[in-house]
Amino acid sequence: MASGQQWVLVEMVQAFYEAPAYHLILEGILILWIIRLLFSKTYKLQERSDLTEKEKEELIEEWQPEPLVPPVSKDHPSLNYDIVTGPPSHKIIVNGKECINFASFNFLGLLDNERVKQKALTSLKKYGVGTCGPRGFYGTFDVHLELEERLAKFMRTEEAIIYSYGFATIASAIPAYSKRGDIVFVDEAACFSIQKGLQASRSFIKYFKHNDMEDLERLLKEQELEDQKNPRKARVTRRFIVVEGIYLNTADVCPLPELVKLKYKYKVRIFLEESMSFGVLGEHGRGVTEHFGVNIDDIDLISANMENAVASVGGFCCGRSFVIDHQRLSGQGYCFSASLPPMLAAAAIEALNIMEEDPNIFTVLREKCKHVHKALQGIPGLKVVGEPFTPALHLQLDRSTGSRESDVKILRSIIDYCLDRQVALTQARYLDKEERFLPPPSVRVVVTVEQTEEDIEKAASCIREAAVAILK
């Protein structure tokens, strides 16, 4: 072997001597060229510019950016907020006028509950206000652990995880599981925080018509065909259905039993956002799963905020540990944000106590909801949108004037009319340009357990008067 190699070497040297000069030069240039290619900077499109320094300076000089923000007209409908003085509880002082509150999502009337306040106060005396850190770095308080345990127990799931901001809950939870390349089937009426979560996940989003299970099944079938074409890809493509318990934007309930059937038929996971239904639906306030008698383990993830029925701040997700635990390292709003102030967690715990002690409160709420729904029927020019047992109804114009802007103005004058007569209502606000499917403008009517029969009658007749006066 050794002699053989030597022979090759000798032959090479000989060939080198015998080769003509032009050949050597050519090879030399080629070698240099290769070296240049190897060591030269990577080719960048942007840098391929034939401009001289002077021309560049001119370009820089000439460039005029748009203003940071476009100007806002002085009479923009949402520039000047209504100012609330004092607590936004049953009686609320809006712009200096005391009204009955039909606008805050204080379904169970826990917002100024004395027990809740006392618990918050005790916690404040022990822990101070802020947590000064994210959960990972000394921002986990014993109260947080207790609240998580209580929520899991309340919902009868294995685990719960709390977030410090209701909006961030589902918006962080979705991208923790659904990544680029995964597929999410979502209802058209999904609220804005779901939309933002979907956007952050960078998955394929397929919208199905609101509460239309046939449309969803059509999409699922389409996907099944697609998967058969490319089974290798299908094996790693996660699928999710994202729905809301009670839809914030339409005040109706998702058909959960059908969704669960579809889930097992097409092997899709269900994420359920229950901000409007937690502490509202079901015998014990466990939400839409209890309402339909669906096994809660069939839902992969339930998320809700603690800002409506619970009347505190923050949100939570619950479900099986296999699913929920993942968020402790992957939920962006959980890992990178300061934790919930302990006094707000303590308030939430006390709210859960009240809910557990007196499940009757949910029946009362449902009765009130039905009452309000009935009382609002037949108002000329306005239609009630939503199921009778949901606590946050919408009043929409029967006939739109044709432009959203003037519709909004009309609704605003109805609200102002009611505010003058001590009934606080509000418009459902949306970012017109950001919403995927912009709901029609509407007046929100929120039901709470504290509203008496007279309050409801008063509000209904007030709205009726306003409608008659303004919509003529």
């Binding site: 923000v69 806002v72 106060l121 770095f137 909006f167 996660r238 092997k267 919930l340």
Partner: protein, 565 residues
């Protein structure tokens, strides 16, 4: 007046540098720690302490150091990860064959045939590396997160897979981990009392959004105060610091806009930039040449493919970077932003309250004009001991946000007691409460910072960042030392934060101390001597440069007598 003079000087210098490239005196940012190429080790000797005094640009010395990773440490660190990975694979193999008991929560039987929720490799790191040292994070506390705190004792019998609470409390742990810069995490005193009063009057919830019916008089009061504090025309407050970034950047930039973001920006800024749909380009950490190059290229070349000019360019920077302890080179950023007509978004999450002679953040620290920063963002979580975030700026900006911020339209507004805590603590810092307590705290923090940083450096630790930053990262490098340092310190009753990959580059694991105005000299000395002890035990004193930079600070010499160890 001095402002404009300084700016002229900056402009001059920036232009100069653009053509001149690297200047010897300016290696402070040219060679930051991201150039940890080992072959440069031999030159490290004279490049450890970069003092950049830029004439008119900086009103004070700007000392920022990122000592090179020693070569042998880097090699050992990589080896450490290598060994951990090999063992990880081995144990995964054993778990697969059911030889080792597996503690991981499993998918339900009914859903076994679903597409797996997690890819197998996704959790490899969690399972095999993080799990071994998990006890260093999420330690539950059961007191105020003040200078000292009480920890709930927990114990694990299965190597951190589950924790049992013993029911005992570890009392009086010195807290070097909470972002309690000005010591406003308190359960007594004016702030707590005011918050308690508001809790009784208002309750804790709101149940609506700002635009609907959740706009309390308290919120309006807070926003006026924040605007006055920052020295801007108008301000708006939001319920969560993270969301302030992620929900407002999309309102400021969109398609056809360019966002230039520092590579070490916080996850919330990154998420906000992504959600905005703008093009994002990343510049090297605090590297002005990198930023300027991106700015020039962007304006000259316009948008990719179409070459249309960009609608606007938004620069995202932070005041203090929470993992590096570095301070943004704000005077230079402002000069660049003015030269190239870009907009500047400054996130003062860690710097507001913690920097500057009157605690007004990094703008105050450099003596600049807040009006030169287009968007002043910050949080209330840290220095104010509350929760939430704000944005301050011109009236047009805030008016626009009031109408278009995702937060204002869709998110529940801030809890009244939290608002009150901010109002009281901010008034205290401003001196509007009639005491000098706020100012004293700001000063105390500055003194504590300088003292703590200097002592650590003297001991021979590698400390990153700016000498005035209360965030003090101390390098540990090796994965095993992350766990060891956290545990040894807790044994000595000191709570520290340790961080490793993915929060830091893989070999640059570190411990992070947050200095607070509430720390007394005794506490700092106790902490320092314990750190030194553990440092010797774990051989953490990597620094080969015990020479100290000259510290010509107004305070410092007189405040503490030095005792060299």
């Amino acid at each position: 007046m001095t402002e404009s003079a300084a700016n002229k000087a900056v402009n001059g210098e920036v232009c100069h540098r653009a053509t001149n490239g690297v200047k010897p005196g300016r290696n402070g940012f040219v060679k930051n720690h991201y150039h940890y190429k080992q072959q440069k080790n031999c030159y490290a000797e004279e490049k450890v302490y970069h003092t950049a005094c830029n004439g008119g640009v900086y009103s004070r010395p700007f000392i920022e150091s990122f000592e090179e990773t020693p070569m042998f440490v880097a090699v050992l660190t990589y080896m450490g990860y290598g060994i951990l990975t090999i063992f990880g694979y081995l144990r995964d193999f054993l778990r697969d064959w059911k030889i080792e008991k597996c503690h991981i929560a499993r998918e339900r039987e009914q859903q076994k045939d679903f597409v797996p929720l997690y890819q197998d490799f996704e959790n490899f790191y969690t399972r095999n590396l993080y799990m071994r040292i998990r006890d260093n994070w999420n330690r539950p506390i059961c007191s105020v997160p003040g200078a000292k705190m009480d920890l709930v004792e927990r114990i694990s019998y299965d190597y951190n897979w589950t924790f049992d609470y013993t029911g005992r409390v570890v009392k009086d742990v010195i807290n070097m981990g909470s972002y309690n810069y000005l010591g406003f995490a308190e359960n007594t005193g004016p702030c707590a009392n005011a918050a308690a009063q508001v809790t009784m009057n208002y309750g804790v919830g709101i149940g609506s959004t700002r635009q609907e019916i959740g706009n309390l008089d308290k919120h309006e009061e807070l926003e006026k105060l924040v605007a006055a504090f920052l020295g801007v025309e108008s301000a708006m407050a939001f319920g969560m610091g993270f969301a302030t970034n992620s929900m407002n950047i999309p309102a400021l930039a969109g398609k056809g806009c360019l966002i230039l973001s520092d590579e070490l920006n916080h996850a919330s800024l990154v998420l906000g930039a992504r959600l905005s749909g703008s093009t994002i380009r990343v510049f090297k950490h605090n590297n002005m040449q990198s930023l300027e190059k991106l700015l020039r290229d962007a304006i000259v070349n316009g948008q990719p493919r179409t070459h249309r000019p960009w609608k606007k360019i938004l620069i995202l920077v932070e005041g203090i970077y929470s993992m590096e302890g570095s301070i943004v080179r704000l005077p230079e950023v402002i000069a660049l932003k003015k030269k190239y007509k870009a907009y500047l978004y400054l996130d003062e999450a860690h710097s507001i309250g913690a920097l500057g002679p009157s605690g007004r953040g990094v703008v105050d620290y450099f003596g600049l004009d807040p009006r030169d920063v287009d968007v002043m963002m910050g949080t209330f979580t840290k220095s104010f001991g509350a929760a939430g975030g704000y944005i301050g700026g011109k009236k047009e900006l805030i008016d626009y946000l009031r109408t278009h911020s995702h937060s204002a339209v869709y998110a529940t507004s801030m809890s009244p007691p939290v608002v009150e805590q901010i109002i009281t603590s901010m008034k205290c810092i401003m001196g509007e409460d009639g005491t000098t307590m706020g100012r004293e705290r700001v000063q105390q923090l500055a003194e504590n910072t300088v003292y703590f940083r200097r002592r650590l450096q003297e001991m021979g630790f590698i400390i990153y960042g700016n000498s005035d930053s209360p965030v003090v990262p101390m390098m540990l490098y090796m994965p095993a030392k992350i766990g060891a340092f956290g545990r040894e310190m807790l044994k000595r009753n000191i709570g520290v934060v340790v961080v490793g990959f993915p929060a830091t580059p893989i070999i640059e694991s570190r411990a992070r101390f947050c200095v607070s105005a509430a720390h007394t000299k005794e506490m700092l000395d106790t902490a320092l001597s314990m750190i030194s002890e553990v440092g010797d035990l774990l051989q953490l004193k990597y620094s080969r440069h015990r020479i100290l930079p000259s510290l010509d600070r107004p305070f410092d010499e007189t405040t503490y007598e030095e005792n060299e160890d």
